[in-house]
Amino acid sequence: MITIKKLSKIFRTEELETKALSEISLNINQGDFVSIMGPSGSGKSTLLNIVGLLDSASDGSYQLLNQEMVGLKEKDKSKARKENIGFIFQNFNLIDELSVYDNIELPLIYNNVPLAERKKKIEAIATKLAIAHRLKHHPQQLSGGQQQRVAVARALINDPKIILADEPTGNLDSKNGNEVMELLTDLHANGATILMVTHSDYDASFSQKTILMKDGMILSEKMNNRNVDVLVANSKN
């Protein structure tokens, strides 16, 4: 699904040249749940932003669904983004001035989904994420966990091919954080592809594969056992 080859990102200021990413190669297949870990400044957020088409690479190749993304025009990027990618942020990034319903509706609007279908879809996903009773409220009236569930609902409403999560539990207490991680695990179990940046080992343990980054390079990749546990747990059910 995602093929990254020798991808580099260089920030230039007048005196300084910083390599945020240097020649990274990475493969993410359909149905993978990958987490990226690393200290501040290791380049993990930059990588996520490039994958999410919010930022552009300086060199190398990034293929999303076998289509080259490096060097694409803003307009095409915007199109690829709205069709394929769903975002979940640490600080939720909900529009405070819009109701929950309106927030979730936005991606559908920009994808020109007809009104009746929009309504059906929003109600379905709200029920699924247990926020149906909150649709008319504004984000500020919700708890952190609920806000993140709204953000997840918004990320999923368009059936994206891949979900990008940037420290999704960073602003949440452990109970709410756990809820969100379990939500992601459920999504993965149902076939979603997820790429997550996190600081927390615990959160990373929910994923299949953890990539450790430092100074713009990938240090190690390891498979997580817990995943097996989940599968076992699933099979037990």
């Binding site: 932003n49 919010l54 307009k75 915007s78 983004r81 990034n93 529009i95 819009l98 309106d102 920009y110």
Partner: protein
């Protein structure tokens, strides 16, 4: 999508009530100002615009001397030029003034002050629609009259007017047509008679007697140069050559010494606003004032649009996150632009609606101010309204929208956008622009105010607090002699003097604030164009006009009714004669002795230079006495009321039973004559207040915004021990700089435009540095008040709140 946009728009509306209200108010005031200007513009441009041949009909004007244009022409020129020039289709003579007279129908008497006497093809030049009769056969002879619908209704009610016999000026006339007077025109007569041919015949050989308005209809609109060329030839043969011969000079020498009239053509469509003459019967439009109105209102609209743009871009920082999220989720730039333009469209719609309300409510005052009857209607007006709407949206909406749509998603989401410098130069640039406009208005209105004050305080050279000017309708007609006229006046005067409270009575053929006829006279080799003022004994003394040399006219001297005159100081200056008393001059072929020189006083506009004047007793120049239409009466202030009642009674009974008794106080009447400048002053003051309010609001919102962004900095400085006054200085420093830059930018245009305006006045202020100095101080003080109040508030804020968050 629309619903989503409107939801968020309403949310912001609710949460920024004050700013939204101020924005809408600012825009609507700006738009209202422009609507006012447009209504005025449309009205002035509607004169003769309906006339299908407006570009082919020309007024013959005569340039008598440099910058002096007369709208009147001599009697022989019309036929002569038509014969000589194949490009001319027709010509038509008409009176230069409306006649005020009484029309009789059986026992009914109707007074009308808009009667026009014209040649029979008048309605081919002004093709009003006829409701009765036929336009082509409307005025076949001098026994015909055509009535406007209104006048016809006044006389005949709902009966048909056609074929009825009326009496006017002791002549019987038949109604041949009734026309509709629903369009604005250079001539809007209540009725038209064909008496002018008679007078034309009498003066058909007098090329130098410019008495009638002559309209020429050309076959082509571009025939002017051919016609003018032929006119020049005619003038040369019949005026220059002839008068040169009479004076025993060569034509060239005569023209050099005395000047000869130059013919010009003004097209009908240009007369109302662009004529160089004093205008036709309906007066001319004040083009300069119109331009000032339009210019200032556009300036105010720009100011309020700048305000809107400024506060929209400043506020958009608050919406950066929304824009970022929308973009991540899939909104394209175009989507964002559309959304923000929609918001401007909604705001502009509100503003236009509100401005229409403002205009509708204040239209009566505006009409009063312009002395017009403007209304909010017409397809042209609505079209212009749509254009205003589109332009406002384009200017006010597209810029902030594009600015917002260019937000970098990553910057926004990282949260370090609030302190970015993007757009700062632009907002500051616009702030400087606002300062410049505000400086222009403050300085400008100060200068305008001073000039009007200067004029009001001017020693006018006469005193007329309690002097009445009674309109006196002189008697005319074939059989009426000058002696008869004078005796009639004398009887009235004596009767008036008997009324209790009346101190002095004197007739005069002049009115303060209005022009009089001029005649040129010669002394040695100098020619002076003097304003003719014919008076009764005691007139000048009554007005407390002072004497510079010699004596006033007096009944004690027999020659004062035969061949003496007074001049004023302006005339004396031109004559260049140290001892003018007793000198003889050649006045219109008559030898007249100067017996006195009066000090200059204002008869016309106090801003204009005082012209040379010649004063005669009525009997000295009998034909001037024909213009004796005013009797001035000095009344004791204590007995004013009774005296007025008594005069009125006497008047209605013995002088003029037909006409209503009309009078005015000389001083009031005079002040009215230059009221348009007083109005300009008031208008400028009003606009000044509006502009300053809008500019201060812009400054307020921008300062609030920029201080809000600096709160963290302020908090840090405070924790580090900065004192309040240091902080205040820090915060207000930049605005003082912008204020100075704005002022400097405004300096030259203000100086230039106001000098231009002051050129209207011969008696004017010298532009000194003071208005600029005062303007600068006022601007600076206002800036400091706004900024410091805002900054002071900021320094009092709880430090912790800003250090904890962010």
């Amino acid at each position: 999508m629309l619903k989503n946009w409107i939801n968020i728009f309403i949310y912001h509306l609710k949460n920024n009530k004050l700013f939204t209200a101020l924005n809408v108010l600012g825009l609507s005031i700006g738009i209202a100002g422009l609507i006012f200007a447009i209504l005025y513009w449309n009205d002035e441009h509607s004169y003769d615009a309906w006339n299908p041949q407006k570009d082919k009909i020309f007024l013959l004007t005569n340039e008598m001397s440099e910058n002096t244009f007369w709208a009147s022409s001599s009697a022989p020129v019309g036929a002569a030029i038509k014969e000589k020039t194949s490009e001319i289709e027709a010509y038509c003579y008409m009176d230069g003034d409306y006649i005020n007279d009484i029309i009789k129908f059986r026992d009914k008497k109707i007074q009308s002050d808009k009667i026009v006497s014209a040649q029979k093809n008048f309605f081919e030049f002004f093709p009003f629609d006829f409701v009765e009769g036929n336009r082509k056969k409307a005025l076949p002879d001098e026994n015909s009259i055509c009535l406007s619908e209104e006048l016809a209704f006044q006389i005949f009610g709902n009966e048909s007017a056609l074929g009825k016999e009326l009496t006017i000026q002791n002549k019987k006339v038949l109604v041949r047509g009734v026309y509709k007077l629903d369009k604005k025109s250079s001539y809007n007569p209540s009725c038209v008679v064909n008496f002018v041919d008679l007078f034309l015949k009498k003066t058909i050989t007098q090329w130098g007697n410019f008495h009638y308005v002559l309209m020429i209809k050309a076959k082509q609109a571009n025939a002017t140069s051919a016609i003018t060329r032929n006119l020049e030839k005619l003038y040369y043969t019949n005026l220059t050559e002839r008068f040169a011969k009479l004076n025993g000079m060569t034509p060239a020498a005569y023209a050099e010494k005395y000047g000869v009239p130059q013919p010009h053509l003004e097209s009908l469509e240009s007369i109302r606003l662009h004529t160089k003459t004093g205008g036709l019967v309906e007066g001319k439009g004040n083009y300069q004032f119109l331009l000032i109105m339009v210019g200032l209102s556009i300036l105010i609209l720009i100011l309020s649009i700048v305000n809107y743009v400024n506060s929209a871009t400043a506020n958009s920082i608050k919406r950066a996150k929304e824009v970022g999220v929308r973009k991540i989720i899939g909104a394209s730039k175009a989507n964002i632009v559309q959304q923000f333009v929609l918001e401007t469209i909604l705001i502009t719609l509100f503003s236009i609606l509100l401005s229409l309300v403002i205009v509708e409510l204040s239209l009566p005052y505006y009409n009063d101010f312009l002395e017009k009857t403007l209304t909010l209607q017409g397809s042209q007006f609505y079209l212009q309204l749509v254009i205003i709407f589109i332009v406002t949206v384009a200017v006010a909406g597209i810029f902030p929208a594009i600015y917002v749509s260019n937000f970098e998603v990553l910057n926004v989401l990282k949260g370090n956008f609030g302190r970015s410098k993007s757009g700062v130069w632009l907002r500051n640039g616009m702030l400087i622009f606002q300062f410049a406009i505000a400086a222009f208005f403050i300085i400008g209105s100060y200068i305008v105010y001073s000039q009007i004050d200067h004029m009001n305080k001017k020693d006018l050279g006469f005193k007329a607090n309690q002097i009445l000017n009674i309109s006196y309708r002189n008697v005319y007609g074939e059989e009426i002699t000058d002696d008869f006229r004078f005796n009639r006046y004398q009887i009235i005067k004596n009767e008036l003097l008997r009324i209790k409270g009346v101190k002095k009575v004197a007739g005069g053929a002049f009115v303060f604030g209005k022009s009089v006829s001029t005649s040129s006279y010669k002394y040695k080799d100098i020619e002076v164009d003097g304003s003719n003022i014919s008076i009764d004994f005691g007139m000048l003394e009554m007005l407390k006009i002072k004497l510079a040399k010699g004596r006033f006219l007096s009944p004690k001297f027999a020659q004062d009714t035969i061949n003496t005159m007074l001049i004023n100081e302006a005339a004396l200056k031109q004559l260049n004669e140290k001892d003018p008393i007793g000198k003889k001059i050649d006045w219109n072929g008559m030898e007249v002795t100067i017996v006195g020189v009066v000090k200059d006083f204002n008869l016309g506009n106090p801003g204009d230079p005082i012209p040379p004047m010649s004063f005669f007793h009525f009997k000295t120049v009998p034909w001037l006495a024909g213009a004796l239409n005013n009797i001035y009466v000095d009344v004791d202030a204590q007995q004013m009321e009774q005296a007025l009642t008594a005069i009125q009674k006497f008047w209605a009974k013995n002088v003029d039973p037909d006409y209503p008794f009309t009078y005015d106080f000389v001083e009031k009447e005079y002040k009215r004559s230059y009221s348009n400048y007083v109005k300009q002053k008031n208008l400028f003051s009003l606009l000044n207040v509006i502009v300053i309010l809008i500019a201060l609001f812009g400054l307020f919102s921008l300062a609030s915004f920029s201080i809000e962004r600096k709160m963290k900095e302020i908090a840090i400085r405070k924790t580090l021990g900065a004192e309040t006054n240091v902080l205040l200085k820090e915060l207000s420093k930049q605005y003082v700089v912008y204020c100075v830059i704005g002022f400097l930018i405004a300096l030259f245009p203000t100086y230039y435009l106001l000098s231009k305006w002051l050129e209207n006045f011969a008696y004017r202020l010298e532009l000194t540095i003071y208005p600029f100095l005062i303007g600068f101080i006022v601007l600076l003080l206002l800036t400091l008040v706004v900024v410091l109040s805002r900054a002071y508030q900021a320094t009092k804020v709880d430090v912790l709140q800003y250090l904890k968050y962010e």
